[in-house]
């Protein structure tokens, strides 16, 4: 059997891809991977829905008025935020598994730029984060308990979703920092602590003075205040905004620092 010589590729007609290799095929495959991960789905979608069903429908307080809506709506927003930050943290922390598997190194043998890779990870995290918000809000609609205007449903939902991007940066930072395949087991625990500090599970005014003093500095405090602001009608304080921006800067700066170290050629 004779094999025809393969035509010589013309070196000059070969081009590097645009956008550093970013494309929708990869985004689709990454989302599919996330959906295959049962653990991630349970933690970021099923768990917040269950929490809402337990805490958001309690007849003792659910119908009490809060600003432009009721307590049930307030708790729904908290649970959507909790699910969304779990989702985006998981999405970002996937880099840890991929580095451990040598996939990041394999990708360096392709045209995919490190920046495009990080953007794909962020977007994948956001898709899962959207899933969490939609799941909790849909549960809210079905139960009929949360009460606020249609406009507020949309505005608070978008605030939670976009705000969860802060934790995609957190996930990336930790994913590059911690060289373990089980990084999410550590991070889920940290997120529970952050959620208490942010007042997502128990209102902060029911906690001790010391706890409240510390809570102001924790990473979910400002974000939790901001996403509830449209509902409560209280304008965000400087503390809230500074808290969010400071943690965003820390997580993004940390992710960039570790990312640079990881992709530096030795």
């Amino acid at each position: 059997m004779s094999i025809a010589p393969r035509p010589l590729p013309d070196l000059n007609t070969r081009r590097a891809p645009g956008l550093g290799g970013f494309n929708l095929t990869i985004l689709g495959l990454e989302v599919r991977r996330l959906l295959r991960n049962r653990r991630t789905l349970i933690f970021s979608i099923a768990l917040p829905v269950v929490f809402f069903l337990i805490f958001g429908l309690n007849t003792q307080y659910a119908d009490e008025s809060v600003g432009n809506g009721n307590v049930s709506a307030f708790i729904m927003i908290s649970m959507a935020l909790y699910g969304a930050i779990l989702a985006t943290t998981s999405g970002g922390a996937m880099v840890s598994v991929e580095r451990a598997a040598g996939w990041s190194r394999q990708l360096r043998l392709t045209p995919l730029s490190p920046a495009a890779y990080v953007i794909i990870k962020m977007l994948t995290a956001l898709v899962l984060g959207l899933g969490s918000v939609v799941a909790v809000y849909a549960t809210g609609i079905i139960t009929g308990k949360p009460s606020m205007s249609v406009q507020l449903w949309i505005v608070t939902g978008l605030c939670v979703w976009i705000g969860s991007l802060v934790f995609a940066a957190f996930g990336l930072f930790m994913g590059y920092l911690l060289p373990t395949e089980n990084v999410m087991q550590i991070l889920s625990f940290a997120l529970v602590l952050f959620a208490f500090g942010g007042g997502l599970f128990v209102p902060l005014d029911q906690m001790s003075d010391l706890f409240q003093t510390i809570a102001v500095y924790t990473p979910l405090y400002g974000l939790n205040e901001l996403v509830h602001a449209p509902l409560t009608g209280q304008s965000p304080t400087v503390t809230d905004v500074v808290n969010v921006l400071a943690w965003l800067a820390i997580f993004t700066g940390g992710a960039i620092w570790r990312f640079r170290r990881d992709t530096a050629r030795v």
């Binding site: 010589p5 393969r6 035509p7 010589l8 070969r14 590097a16 598997a101 040598g102 050629r265």
Partner: protein
Amino acid sequence: MTVTNALPGRGSQAGDVAPRAVELRGVHKNFGSVQAVNGIDLSISSGEIVAFLGPNGAGKTSTIDVILGLSRPNSGDVSVLGMSPHQAIARGLVSAVLQTGGLLKDLTVAETAQYTASLFTHSRPVTEVLDRAGITAIADRKVGKCSGGEQQRLRFAMALLSDPELLILDEPTTGMDVEGRRSFWSAIRQDAERGRTVLFATHYLEEADDYADRIILVRHGKIVADGTAAQIKAMAAGRTVRATLPDADETALAGITGFDHVEVNGDTVLVHTGQSDAVARYLLTTTAAHDLEITARGLEDAFIALTSDDATANQQGASA
């Protein structure tokens, strides 16, 4: 190798304009006080199949990492197809099958190939490369459920996607059984017949002997020999020339230049030599010798002689 392409330089010698597939000049790479690559000069032309042979820790992988742009040499120049490794990779002109890792367990075989294919502007169809790597039947299997050999074939399929001009394989058959190795190499060999340049690192002597046109022997980060398998065998151990020569005078023969060691057994003369051509010419033209045979010592002898620590440094340079 026959060439039907009109473009200049494919498999041709120095002096034309086509860039070399690989060009290394004075490459040094150290990790702390460990000198992994200690001054390597290397030039590989298009279409060559080259084995990088050496014991573990000889600097094979470090050199390959430099060629692939995965690491930066401390000094020296690297050029791949006339451009930097990074540019060659971005254009899909170079691809590699690395030793281990580099796969996601939760993707299927076909999805892994689709992922990689989507990154190149110029890509072969996924079905075609899976077929060429012989893994069409397991396309829908999760990577985590594939055997080591199947994963290696997937890495090979991924390396074929961009239809690269240069394919680099770093110890590609480590951990495979004999049958797996044979069928893996038959897939590589079939592919290389189409004219691709292939550089592979190995510590299996038979692989280098069976599949490479040219063998580069490395030791302590240096090239200690470079040539065809036959040249390398001859370099380290010389060859044995055997002839039938009645009434041979052992002492007289041993005095001739190039006759390193002479043995006479009845009518048979055995000469160990580093200059087998000269010995054969002498025997055939100036004596009555007939039925002459020249045999090389094994590559294993050469390998041990050239890569052991007491090997002399001046054996370098039997360039192809």
